[in-house]
Amino acid sequence: MEAELYLSVQQFLFSEARLLDERRFDDWLALFSDDALYWMPVRHNRLRESMDEAWEPSKEIEDESGLGYFEDNKHRLTRRVGRLKTGMAWAEDPPSRTRHLISNVEVERTDRQDEVIARSSFLTYRSRNEGKHEDEDLFSGSREDVLRENKDAGSWFIVKRKIVPDWVVVNAQNLSIFF
């Protein structure tokens, strides 16, 4: 793996996180390709099938026909962002103060010349209203992104983002922010 490629992807993910924390949602949306899929499947506690079974997180999440927290194409994602501008999106009024911490970045080449897979972890803190204890949330999980070269901008498009949450029960009143 060339250092230049790795740094380019890492820089992209960090910049993307900053767009979210600065609530520049239109700029954030522009990072997604027109054929993008933004998907966060639901996770559950399962029985171990045998004594020596490894606990694979992939078996704990729903497949594409199961339930997700997000299952958005670009149109649906655009509506989420559009809602924030209606003046009546009460769950984000006053808005969440977020800090998206992105780490554990790994980059993998794919069969396609112009696409890579980027894996990362997130720890996202949110504070709302007066910031009392019940107004604070922590969200963590992993992400697997398919990124496509954005040659014009010398950057990347997000083609697919699969977000695997570390929770089974969301310990928050809503998921009104992005991951």
Binding site: H44, N45, E71, R83, W90, A91, A172
Partner: protein, 429 residues
Amino acid sequence: MNIEELVSENYTAVSRQAFVDHEIFQLEQERIFKKCWLFLGHVSQIKNPGDFFTSYMGEEPVIVTRDHENHINVFVNSCRHRGMRVCRADRGNTRNFSCSYHAWTYDLTGKLLGVPKQKEGYYEELDVSQRGLVSAAKVAEYKGLIFATFDPDAVSLLDYLGNMGWYMDLILDRHEGGTELVTGIHKWRVKTNWKLPCDNNAGDWYHVGVAHGSIARLNGVPNLFADNENRLGVSAEYGHTLCAMYHPEGKHAVSAPNHPKEMAEWQNEVWSNAHTRLGTTRSRLEFIAGNVFPNFSWIPGSFSIRQYHPRGIDEVEIWSYCLVDADAPRIVKDQMRRHYTDTFGPSGLLEQDDGENWHGCFETAGNPVIRKIPFSYEMGHGHEWKDENLRAKDVAKAASEVYQRSFYRRWYEQLTAETDEVELIARGA
């Protein structure tokens, strides 16, 4: 605690004390969650012998299984030895449940199969036949939905649902294939008392234009739903309520998404079918939202049903499911699921703002000054009417608080009745 002081005559006002008082919460556990029929899940979650899922009846963790005789069993998830949960998975398929503490092991019916050291430790004096997991008193199914109650003297599930079953059929019985759940459950927690989301989901049409106003603006229309005299608030009976649209004759009772074209075709097929299955009146009814007392709620326009599980007095854990027509084509089920996820569940564009209100109404309710200011449920009181075509105790305009008055009437009667009176109330006497 004088319960009579918590509600006004006609239930047009309810004291905030009802939402913050720990004695009341304990009484609710005893007289509501141990007495009422509670929704647990859907038969599609346990299709095969050995299948199980875990859920809650009030705050009691329970296991729901399908045994090898094909019976559905419901028992408390607490070992008869020292109380450890014998199952900590959300769902799966198993032969038995073995406790992780001392390995007391139970079968799919909750029967204790055996314990380690029965001979050396217990001198074979432990009567395992008497130590099965404690079962729900009654388990019953209504058109695919599984319910149970801890009350051995409870009326039948059909009697408990009363008129409400007639409306639930609009979803459960509208097509010969019945319904199934999409795999997976949205579970999340809101810091509020369980009754507030229930009284909202009972049919609060009044909040839709404001609390969910963002969607109208997003869609570029003045109102999410145009004002319509045909939109009704229905007090079915026994505290079960719904908000419904009574469409003009000859019009299909459906406003759900009609794209892609397969979705429109499916809706057409379902509703031409429903006319013969459900009759003229019901083929004109569109079930918008509702609640089966105490905490089983419906949002059929978004293909969704849910439970509001109490988690102490100040928190509710919402379990929300996507309910689809079992024999719909894959593309239609996909569209139903996406429409649900778009609108409800913790990330739903409508749902997000509900939690905001449920928490905000509750967070200061226990304060010494605010506690003295009752919640108001007076809208439309005295303006209800009877409709001989609908199976209902009362009918009102959709923008009415008839739903909440029905809910809190049942709540009050449930809390104050002597045990045998509770049964009478449930029977509608």
